[in-house]
Amino acid sequence: MSNKVFKTAADALQGLTFDGMVVMAGGFGLCGIPENLIAALRDSGAQNITAISNNAGVDGFGLGLLLETRQIKKMVSSYVGENKEFERQFLAGELDLEFNPQGTLAERIRAGGAGIPGFYTKTGVGTVIAEGKPTREFDGEEYIMETGLKADVALVKAWRGDTQGNLQFKKTARNFNPMMATAGKVTVVEVDELVEVGSFDPNYIHTPGIYVQRIIEAKCEKRIEQLTVREKEEVQ
């Protein structure tokens, strides 16, 4: 049986990183990001990275770490509003940016992982997103063609995983992680909790281990972007 389990994030990225690589990183905002693997990618020193991720982290955390060190050449994202260093680099022309509508981004990654080279969608028709893309009419409505996305390495965050790479995600920390797991030539996962194979009820596995080549257990900080609470006195 091949061994998928690695000890540290640095071990798990050994031999996978190179200049000009395309990386996917899961997460929505700072929720469900593979924070240890992102830090290890920074430490690998790989340059000119194309990063596909819904967001760009915040200053000094998540993908913000790789922006600080100028290791990212291009971002493919749907929303980057939380990162001042990103905005500065972009407005200064130091960083390429490809905006994708969030659903288009998710579907492009799903398609890439499923061997679907392209698909048609209504999203973005009549906007700058449609510029230069083939269009086609179905039932009298206009659609634009979008292409599937793949990555050299997909960095994924899951809640629990077993030694065969079967994964479970927690709450809204799931987001882009399951699709990205399918779209990496090599998929590396960090989990809160690594368990023996056979621990999960097979009915409740979100991502089957076939998509996962390497897995580590690592403690995450899980930083919160917008802590919002209600008062106990408030009767709901």
Partner: protein
């Protein structure tokens, strides 16, 4: 008196019908959740992967793995379900969400909306907005009728980059409600905020509306 932000949210909440699956945007639309009419049971979708969004947590139940699309900490309900982003947008793009209430920077008389970008000024991104306006059955835009300089935001054509074309069914502003029953028809004034006269609305609207 023109409507306040809260008044606009309250009016938008009247568009929610019992049993609806609803997506609320950031800003005034978020306030709509506080005004859901009695007897109307709706399920709120959060495009980062949740149906059945609950209220903000008490301080001792905050979970960093549970946030809404505005990245705020939230809670789950008995009906809640979680799913990945592709599935979330299958709901949105597949026409399964009944209504989307979203903020706008500009609306055109043809139902175009601009709400994601100011060239040279603001680089944030469209997030899920383009998917929502393209896929949701009914889209209601909520915005101030004029900008801070007093210029109309309801225009013949949007001057900012579009989020979607011919997709807005109703516009709620601080001055009133503007709706159009069929996709291609002109918007008409269906309600005025208390004390607001039609002349004021006309003076502050550049779009060509059906003034009745």
């Amino acid at each position: 008196m023109p409507w306040t932000r809260d008044d606009m949210a309250k009016r938008a909440a009247q568009e929610l019908k019992d049993g609806f699956y609803v997506n609320l945007g950031i800003g005034i639309p978020t306030l709509v959740a506080n005004h859901i009419p009695d007897g109307v049971d709706v399920t709120l979708q959060s495009e980062n992967g949740m149906l059945g969004m609950g209220p903000f947590p008490y301080a001792d139940e905050v979970d960093p793995d549970l946030i809404n699309a505005g990245k705020q900490t939230i809670t789950e309900l008995r009906r809640s379900s979680y799913f990945n982003s592709a599935e979330s947008f299958a709901m949105i793009r597949g026409g399964h969400i009944d209504i989307s209430i979203l903020g706008a920077m500009q609306i055109s008389e043809g139902g175009d909306i601009a709400n994601w970008m100011i060239p040279g000024k603001m680089v944030k991104g469209m997030g899920g907005a383009m998917d929502l306006v393209a896929g949701v059955k009914r889209c209601v835009a909520v915005m101030d009728h004029t900008n801070r300089a007093g210029a109309s935001k309801f225009l013949p054509q949007c001057t900012l980059p579009l989020t979607g074309r011919n997709c807005i069914d109703m516009v709620i502003t601080d001055l009133g409600v503007f709706s159009r029953p069929e996709g291609e028809a002109k918007f008409r004034v269906t309600e005025l905020a208390p004390g607001v006269e039609m002349d004021e609305v006309k003076a502050k609207t550049e779009a060509d509306l059906d003034w009745g």
